[in-house]
Symmetry: C2
């Protein structure tokens, strides 16, 4: 059936669902035919995936958002078998492994009847190396004796993991698995940090600045704005939503100073001119960096922007392929600003969606988008990879503030990040690199 369409009803439902990026991401990994798809079906009680006896039915990772009792809203990611063969198979295995980097929890699905294979052992090693929280699921337990299943669970290869015998066929062990998922998650999950924490107190007032050139179609707001408005309402704070040419006018109409002005990065220069120095000013993108990643680490890397030389290679990394209206911020505006400041064009690569390269050494610098569509663990995994390979990573918002000469100002609500930024800048200045 190629007829794939969301009814208006389903679309309505989707709009009323928790955004995917705020859900816990659970990846299923294992050999072909270990029963990953049927395990998802059993856990969710729905027939989401093709379940067949032909090994390797799951090619691209398939994501399914649902409610998993007693864990809450999750996204299951069903991956290709790690023992896939051939050229295409190798590609699929590569994709499965790259998914692994940013899941919040890995379920390692092992065919209990087949035992632990060399592929399974390699998989477990990758998970250990990357420090991914994991549970071993000994699937098809209905095909072995209880004794055999217990012995398998106690095998040295699984020594540091919870290992549970489960049967997707009969449902045996599924409740125990749900409970174990909930326990593991409660100890390890890294959800987004609140966007406005420490910036707007409960009952406070924020001014949110939205540029006229909007980047979202009629009837919509972009995700960071929606999330910020919602978070402020939830904590009993208020916000005034204005355009960049109305900031000064709005401030003069208020009897009190707002606790903060938060602007779209692209309008930061115009807005900074209108906001008195004694009012905290930052950007949505900097708040996203703090919520989704490590703001201090990203701030520390930002001065390297000024050490770039024309022709050097940089990576612009986006986590979703949106359809930007007008000039694209990552592909056009940021590269142009760098070229202007550094006196010549850079050699720019673009990584879209989940195609973050594993070898980052060709790049002098990585500039990452806000990541509003992905999880915190995903963003932290990218940052960790950059740090491990010695490539400075900043994000769109920090880069734009820096290139507009206002980063001292937009970072000042976050003293630790500001200090890291300044100290790195000084180091570079002293070393003569700037």
């Amino acid at each position: 059936m190629t007829k794939i369409a969301l009814s208006q009803r389903q679309a309505a439902q989707a709009a009323l669902e928790l955004p995917k990026a705020l859900r816990l991401h659970i990846g299923l990994f294992g050999k072909r035919n270990a029963g990953k798809s049927s395990l998802i079906n059993r856990l969710t009680g729905q027939n989401l995936s093709i379940v067949s006896d032909i090994p390797g039915t799951t090619t691209d990772p398939v994501e399914k958002a649902c409610e998993l009792h007693p864990v809450g809203p999750v996204v299951f990611i069903d991956t290709a078998g790690i023992d896939d063969t051939g050229e295409l198979g190798a590609l699929r295995v590569g994709r499965s492994l790259s998914v692994m980097q940013w899941v919040d929890l890995a379920l390692v699905v092992i065919d209990a009847a087949a035992g632990i294979s060399a592929d399974d052992e390699n998989l477990l090693a990758s998970i250990r190396t990357r420090g991914i929280p994991a549970i071993a699921v000994l699937n098809k337990a209905d095909r072995v004796s209880n004794e055999a299943a217990s012995a398998l669970a106690r095998s040295p290869a699984l020594a540091d993991l919870s290992a549970l015998p489960v049967s997707s066929l009969t449902g045996a062990g599924i409740e125990e698995l749900r409970g174990q998922i909930a326990r593991t998650v409660s100890e390890t999950w890294q959800p987004d940090r609140p966007l406005t924490e420490g910036l707007v107190p409960r009952g406070g007032l924020a001014v949110l600045v939205t540029p006229i050139d909007f980047g979202a179609p009629k009837g919509r707001l972009i995700q960071p704005q929606t999330q910020t408005i919602r978070e402020l309402i939830d904590q009993g704070s208020r916000c005034i939503v204005v355009r960049e040419d109305q900031v000064a006018g709005t401030l003069s109409e208020l009897r009190r100073k707002p606790d903060a002005v938060i602007t779209d990065s692209q309008a930061i220069k115009a807005v900074a001119e209108q906001v008195p120095e004694d009012i905290a000013l930052t950007t949505f993108s900097i708040l996203m960096a703090r919520s989704k990643s490590d703001l201090t680490a990203l701030a520390r890397a930002t001065p390297f922007l000024n050490a770039l030389r024309p022709g050097e290679r940089i990576l612009i990394s986006e986590t979703c392929s949106h359809n930007p209206q007008g000039e694209d911020i990552g592909r056009v505006k940021i590269p142009n600003w760098i070229a202007q400041k550094q006196g010549g064009a850079m050699d720019v690569d673009i990584a879209v969606s989940k195609d973050f390269p594993s070898d980052l050494r060709p790049y002098k610098m990585v500039i990452q988008c806000g990541g509003c569509m992905v999880t915190r663990r995903h963003m932290l995994a990218r940052l960790r990879e950059c740090i491990a390979q010695g490539v400075p990573m900043t994000n769109y918002g920090l880069a734009i503030s820096e290139l507009q000469g206002v980063l001292d100002r937009t970072l000042s609500p976050f003293p630790e990040a500001l200090a890291a930024y300044r100290s790195e800048r000084e180091k570079l200045e002293q070393s003569g690199e700037l």
Copy 2:
């Protein structure tokens, strides 16, 4: 392939698309195998539907949002053949005809090689009766001579329609059809009216009130709020988003009066107490009624709420099946308020999504939701049907204001609707029905 899943990338894209309800809806109607699905594929250049030679492949109406040059953002609705047979077939035909009521444009797809059948003539009669803008598409024109196609286009059955020979197979006539769609639409489309028109001037200031009990999951706002914020930004106006317990405090912090206070209906009573009489006050739901339907007609029907007697049958009509958090407004709160006011419970039927009954005579009254997920034509079709059958139709927002005793206040920004409401109320009072 039953593996249907949106990737994170697609989900991101969907979030950045124009909401479906703001798109032009084009329905395709005709006999089985007249080539409706292949025509959509040819018009959009995508392989969206199953195209097969087995008559009747399209069972449920399938909707597909896309960009149609030179028309703009549209939703195509592919319906089941009107000549479908058997019990299930009759159901499908019924569904196709009910879709017809709310499309903005009907493409009547006729197999040029087969000529105009009795089924086609019945279909054309239904379309005429309902006053639906329509174009006749003489498909499979590649199978007949140009003369035969022209003769067919001039046949008396199509006298009042534009009729175009088209071949989905070769693409002949497709450009002409696109042009004709654009022309017909420019004359007949009834897009939503702006929500805040006449209420908040350009450069003005609105206070938007959001209840604490939110009805949308973390990280989201409900559609009427998002649309209102976006519309205000687009027209250079500003808004302050506050909770219902912060309205008075916020007003006291402003050096100027806002142009309007717009509140979630559920908080209207608490908000009305905080807003001075000289500031316009209304609800999102009343704005939706004006944007999507005929506010005056709905207001005129609202006093009938007070003439309901316990045990009488009413219809609560929702256009989407959301997953409400907490107490449902349509299913629980409104019926409870009516029962309280009228001294006993009503006999309440619920119509969900597109299952609006064709026979409304069993109902003393219809209470319709805001319709934020559907088109204006859809809402007007429902209203027209109610008026034709002599059943008063109001909407959630008007009903809530009325039941809370504040409808004179929340309608006062709309003098025509207020006058209609008051005059009907007086009539009912004089006739002794209230």
